[in-house]
Amino acid sequence: MLALTRRQFFCRCTAGVGAAALASMLGVDGASGAARVAADGPLAAKPPHFPARAKRVIFLHMAGAPSQIDLFDPKPMLARHDGQPAPEELIKGERFAFIRGTPKCLKSPYRFEKHGRCGMELSELLPHTAGIADELCLVRSMHTDHFNHAPAQLFVHTGSQLAGRPSMGSWVTYGLGTENQDLPGFVVLVSNNNPDGGTALWSSGFLPTVHQGTQFRSAGDPVLYVSNPPGVSRGARRATLDALRDLNGERLESEGDAEIRTRMSQYELAFRMQASVPELMDIGGEPAAVHEMYGTTPGKASFANNCLLARRLVERGVRFVQLYHWGWDSHGTGSGDDLVTSLKQRCVETDRASAALVMDLKQRGLLEDTLVIWGGEFGRTPMNEARNGSTFLGRDHHPKCFSMWMAGGGVKRGTVYGSTDELGYNVATDPVHVHDLQATILHLLGMDHTKLTYRSQGRNFRLTDVFGKVVPGLLA
């Protein structure tokens, strides 16, 4: 049988030995006994540029952009100006997505209180999040360049407002590979509707599609086509794959093309996934206390279920888990998108499970090297949108400031970073641009965002375009 050519053999050996040595040095295998380090393949675990603080990421994206003013960034001064026209100097020459004319200031209808030993001020809408205040690194000075959902979401995840660039999760698996070769390295879970940016948000762009986010679905096949057709048992499938392996093996011998070997191993991986994915997705076996903590109901499609799945995924060595929960677009055109009913409902859906995820990771010793990120694509105005004279309370899109929180994975605990002005219109101190956040996330993963590049159409591209600075104030 024609084996690998000598050169290929040595290349692989080096990669394999390197990866194994690295795994032992960096403790890559630390997440779980189930995780395996593969010796080769495009998703084999690779060394970071420098020792990493975080080994995996769970990004909870609140699609539609949650209102920072009603959740994270208390503005007593806004209450004093409630109902008054927004100051001329702030809004002169500004372009809003929907607001026309001079908008009026709108105080938050919710109370803020101090929480934890750190005394972080958080809204009454987030009681469970308040309970983990001492774990959080809350950034109140985020800002972005885009104020429409799809471009701004693409901007957060790909560094560009235009579709077609690789997503952060793709960049991360491209840079670091993944630790479990029986599962994809970049998994996407969606609840309450698809995000505005569509699948472009987890596209691998010009990177090989093996780095594309794989959506695990709550209904139907958890991974597309993972189930055998009706009338084909697992035994029958094994029999067909045995025949396929034998025939492909003969071809490998006569053709000598290493691609055949890769394909043979990918079919075996597919077979393993047919078992591992349903096992992973079945949360029925989790103890009652866990369901209680997250608020999960097995078999139901929900953000809570997705949070629990996220924990099960990182536990198994998946590198990047991306959740989307849509519905934060609180314009106030009706009760379906206002601050009083709709925003409260979104918080009920997400608050408990988000906090449970952080606590659960902590209890399992995973929080230390798992970075959890919570936030949307932009912020919302301190003014009432009142579109077409709507009497429902709502806020327009606002790119100039918004809040996000992070936990675990080498970020400061119990910290508030940055601030906005008295009315919550502009960033006042320590601005963090979206590209800075991306640079910081990559830094925590042990990668220099200026060096993680890929050549396409004649130039080297990177997640942060030609911008971005690591924010030292966020690092523990």
């Binding site: 024609l2 050519t5 000598r6 050169r7 495009p42 372009r95 997505a97 929907f98 026309r100 429409n148 959902h149 799809a150 579709a163 077609g164 698809n194 505005d196 940016g197 699948t199 472009a200 596209s203 010009f206 599609t209 093996v210 794989t214 679905r217 139907g220 597309l224 086509y225 189930s227 057709p229 009706p230 009338g231 084909v232 048992s233 029958a236 029999a239 067909t240 025949a243 396929l244 034998d246 492909n248 003969e250 071809r251 053709e255 000598g256 093309d257 691609e259 055949i260 890769t262 394909r263 043979m264 079919y267 991986l269 597919a270 996934m273 047919q274 519905g327 899109h397 159409q457 004649g458």
Partner: protein, 953 residues
């Protein structure tokens, strides 16, 4: 001061070692004294010896015994100077060259030391013979002084070679006499690789430093100090201050001197952080080891003055038989590399390869058998003609173009609403079917609307530019997205026709290719004259207002007939309630008839928009006004050219344009061989990969233009080569020598494209619909793949033939493309795609094993095996292998499939319910749902998943 090996141990930073170092640096100055003095001494002594002999011969008195006074004087000064010089040389080597290394340096060192030692011995001798002269003493002394002079000369020459290069002394003479050799890599560098530190990997270590730190200013564009560092030739040639790189000699290389900040000049890179010591060390080591620079990196031009190859005119047309010319060129290269090409593939495999390449479909069993009976060149040519004349050819190559045109059935952003664009797709199919010349193909797509008395077809063709995405999200700034759209149109044309990265010049002058930002906006200006495509309705609502035309299309006749049939049915049925589905269907049809078939087109505004350079690419920072024009590095448009898209189209397909023909034939070639002659088919610039076979590229490009831009001529030239018809199997030697088959010593072998994999399975399963054109269809797709908060559009599964149409008719939604195509690397078509990646993943395996389309195809193939495959399991398995791979399977292969058949048959016989379930899911008619059919379905499933079937081999 000396370590165990006799090497100097260096101090660092203290005054004493600085003094030592300075002493070392005196070496090049000191060296001249002993050479001159000892040479003079030797000369004087030789002269006096000759004079003495002549004197004796003439018998003029006593022979003069004793040394020449001049020689003695010279030696007294010169010999100690030689010793000091040798010592300073040692120091210099230690401080400046890391203790030694190169062979040349070692030669210089030891010859120099020997010269010093012999000179000192000569000094002793001269003092001795001055004291008491004897015949023997004089002979020894004279021998010593001559030897010292010779050694000194040799040491001096070796030292000079290190500084100026070995060829320095005689090169002008050699050049004048016509003896000049091609400058070879200096053996010193190459041979001394081991002594000169660990070998440097240029691509991994050196090139990134040059790219990051040097080429911005010392590249094709800026050439500061007339120095370029983006190719070896340019670096060797150097600039104002001398050679950038002197092979083997870091000290003489300006690159090294300047990054170290020597010579009192600014440390390079200027205005940036200096290089790290490790980086400087890498560069020095690289130079010392001979400055090895592989051809595949950097600019490919060989001199500063010479233009990049891709901007030079296409080389002239060559004479020769079709195919023969290309094979000659490929063969010459293989021969030069000492490689032997594989023989022809077997006929059935070849015909499958040809059919998949030209039509995207496998050959029929009858076609296979006919060609196997008579695999002659005539039969081959006949097959080629049959295929390029088929509708399947037009569809398959239209698909190739639609990736580049970023054709899709939805607008792209947020809601990603459906739009009617398919008449443009059908226009492309029609253009390929009619064999339209690529010049006309270009003209009508880019400027059909501007043609005098443009036909409806010509206007539909302009849909090419209208395939740009439109953002209709609430609150967008229409101007911002209008600019984005124009940018996309300009970039797409630059990439698709010119293979350039002009888009890099959107925000600043191109860093590596000779395009300025102004060039960019002049190109942009061609596309800037169309009206806005969205408008802000106030209160954040946006409406699409883009130009579209209504097309008279046979579809309307079908709708009319369907509507009439329903009306008839209602009339016959008597009372039919208003909410009856038939009435809804009728309303739907009537609506369609009222709107008609429309498609998006280009339309120029009456008053052209003024185009300005956008600073940093931002629509908020307009700058200088520019007029439409083409990049200045390329041949100009000529007098009287129209300053509009029509003029641009004419320029693109002008025979003098060096890029279009090369870029297009290269992309055609890539479809056959899996890789272009220029691998970066979207970047023919200095940073792209150089062509593996430049002469083949130019030959094909020349033929393409000469034939009247006939793509079918290019196809014929390629598929009639031996290179194309070789077997893809390769022995270990060949595969190891050329793992990626860049030299084309064997036939192409690569995975099929997404649509071809699906079309092939449907065709082999006897299910493929051959209907051409019409609205896009919705074959089965798992529920829940679509779904968007602000879009109510649903994937409504097509019934009937719509389930089995060719892949290019599948509805292409940009935000959520057809999932089984995505798995096989189909692009989303948000932007132009000229080259799909080719991955090999487990998700692909799940698609072809379990996607219902493939299960139906397997059941279909199973039915054909039972009907067409003859009697007996072995015959049927063999028949299917032949139909699917084009070759006759071996006995072992057939036996393995029969074994699977028997195993699974036993299972299905024991559990007929399972067979029923499988075949029901596979839409097999009720009467045919037998355990045998189910078992054959699994066998067919295996065959359709063979690597060989998913691959064009």
């Amino acid at each position: 001061m000396l370590d165990a090996h006799g090497m100097l141990v260096l101090g660092e930073g203290d005054v004493a070692s600085a003094l030592w170092q300075t002493g070392g640096r005196l070496h090049p100055i000191l060296v001249h004294f002993p050479i001159a003095l000892v040479a003079l001494a030797a000369g004087a002594e030789v002269l006096s010896a000759v004079m003495g002999r002549r004197g004796r011969a003439r018998g003029a008195g006593m022979p003069m015994l004793g040394p020449s006074v001049l020689a003695r004087g010279c030696l007294v000064v010169g010999a100690p100077a030689a010793g000091i010089t040798a010592w300073s040389g040692w120091l210099n080597a230690a401080y400046e060259h890391g203790g030694g290394g190169a062979l040349e340096m070692e030669g210089h060192r030891w010859v120099g030391i020997a010269a010093g030692a012999v000179a000192l011995m000569a000094l002793v001798a001269v003092l001795a013979v001055s004291w008491r002269a004897t015949e023997v003493g004089m002979r020894v002394y004279r021998a010593l002084v001559v030897l010292a002079a010779m050694l000194m000369g040799a040491a001096g020459h070796l030292g000079g070679s290190m500084v100026y290069g070995g060829e320095y002394l005689f090169s002008p003479l050699r050049a004048a006499l016509g003896w000049e050799r091609a400058p070879a890599a200096r053996p010193a560098g190459a041979a001394a690789g081991e002594d000169a530190g660990p070998p440097v990997d240029f691509a991994a270590e050196v090139w990134p430093i040059l790219e990051a730190a040097c080429i911005d200013c010392h590249g094709d564009v800026r050439k500061r100090g007339q120095l370029r560092l983006d190719s070896l030739a340019a670096a060797l040639k150097g600039g104002k201050s001398g050679p950038g790189v002197v092979r083997g000699d870091p000290d003489a290389s300006q690159v090294i001197r300047r990054v170290k900040g020597l010579d009192g000049k600014a440390t390079m890179p200027e205005d940036a952080d200096p290089l790290a010591p490790e980086q400087i060390e890498v560069l020095e080591r690289w130079v010392r080891q001979g400055a090895v620079w592989p051809e595949t990196l950097g600019a490919t031009d060989t001199g500063v003055e010479e233009r990049h190859w891709a901007y030079q005119p296409v080389a002239g047309v060559r004479e020769g038989a079709e195919g023969g010319v290309i094979d000659g060129m490929i063969g010459a290269r293989l021969k030069a590399e000492g490689m032997v090409a594989s023989g022809r593939a077997e006929p059935g495999v070849l015909l499958r390869r040809l059919s998949l390449d030209l039509t995207g479909l496998p050959p029929t069993v009858a076609e296979l058998e006919a060609f196997e009976r008579s695999p002659t060149d005539e039969a081959w040519s006949a097959a080629v003609e049959r295929m390029v004349g088929s509708a399947a050819y037009a569809e398959h190559w239209a698909g190739w173009w639609l990736d580049q045109a970023r054709y899709a059935d939805s607008r792209g952003y947020e809601k990603d609403q459906t739009w009617s664009m398919w008449p443009y797709r059908d226009w492309v199919i029609g253009a390929f079917a009619s064999g339209m010349g690529f010049d006309r193909f270009t003209r009508e797509q880019l400027a059909g609307d501007l043609l005098a008395e443009a036909t409806q077809e010509q206007v539909v063709a302009t849909g090419f530019s209208r395939c740009s995405m439109i953002n209709e999200e609430g609150g967008v700034d229409p101007e911002e997205f209008r600019v984005n759209t124009v940018v996309d149109r300009a970039n797409t044309v630059a990439t698709v026709w010119l293979g350039t990265t002009l888009s890099c010049a959107q925000c600043h002058d191109h860093k590596f290719d000779p395009f300025t930002q102004k060039d960019y906006y002049r190109f942009f200006a061609y596309f800037n004259g169309t009206p806005v495509e969205t408008e802000d309705l106030g209160s954040g609502e946006t409406r699409v207002v883009s130009p579209e035309v209504r097309v008279a299309h046979p579809m309307e006749e079908r709708w009319k007939a369907e509507a009439a049939a329903i009306e008839e049915w209602i009339a016959a049925a008597g009372e039919v309630s208003e909410d009856h589905p038939k009435r809804a269907e009728l309303r739907d049809l009537k609506g369609k008839l009222e709107r008609g078939v429309t498609t998006q087109v280009m339309r120029e505004m009456k008053t052209p928009r003024i185009t300005r350079v956008l600073e940093r690419g931002s629509f908020l920072s307009p700058g200088e006004v520019v007029t439409p024009g083409t990049p200045s590095v390329l041949p100009s448009m000529g007098e009287g050219a129209r300053p509009d898209r029509l003029g641009l189209a004419a320029w693109l397909t002008d025979a003098r344009n060096p890029l279009t023909a090369r870029v297009i034939v290269n992309r055609v070639w890539a479809r056959y061989f899996g890789r272009g002659i220029v691998e970066t088919d979207d970047d023919f610039g200095t940073r792209g990969t150089p062509p593996t076979h430049p002469e083949v590229l130019d030959y094909l490009a020349g033929e393409f233009v000469r034939s009247g831009w006939d793509l079918r001529h290019v196809h014929r030239l390629i598929v009639t080569t031996e290179a194309y018809r070789r077997s893809s199997a390769a022995g270990e030697g060949a595969r190891e020598r050329d793992p990626e088959n860049r030299l084309l010593g064997r036939g192409p072998r690569h995975r099929l494209d997404a649509e071809v994999i699906r079309d092939q399975a449907l065709e082999l399963g006897g299910l493929l619909s051959r209907e051409v054109g019409g609205p896009s269809v919705f074959p089965p797709q798992p529920a829940g793949v679509w779904g968007h908060a602000y879009s109510g559009e649903q994937w409504k599964e097509s019934e009937g033939s719509g389930r089995y149409r060719r892949g290019l008719y599948t509805f292409w939604k940009r935000s959520t493309p057809y999932p089984s195509f995505v798995a096989f690397d189909a692009p989303s078509r948000q932007v132009s795609c000229t080259r799909r990646p080719r991955t090999n993943t487990a998700l692909q395996a799940l698609v072809t094993l379990n996607d219902p389309v493939y299960v139906e195809a397997a059941a279909g193939l199973a039915g054909r095996m039972e009907r067409e495959g003859g009697e007996g399991a072995a015959a049927r398995a063999g028949w299917a292998m032949h139909a699917c791979t084009g070759r006759r399977a071996s006995g072992a292969e057939v036996a393995r499939l029969v074994r699977l058949y028997e195993e699974t048959l036993a299972g299905y016989r024991a559990n007929t319910g399972e067979a029923e379930r499988l075949l029901e899911a596979a839409r097999v008619p009720e009467g045919e749902r037998t355990p045998e059919r189910a078992a054959w379905t699994l066998v067919a499933n295996v065959i359709l998943n063979l690597d060989e079937v998913l691959t064009k081999g």
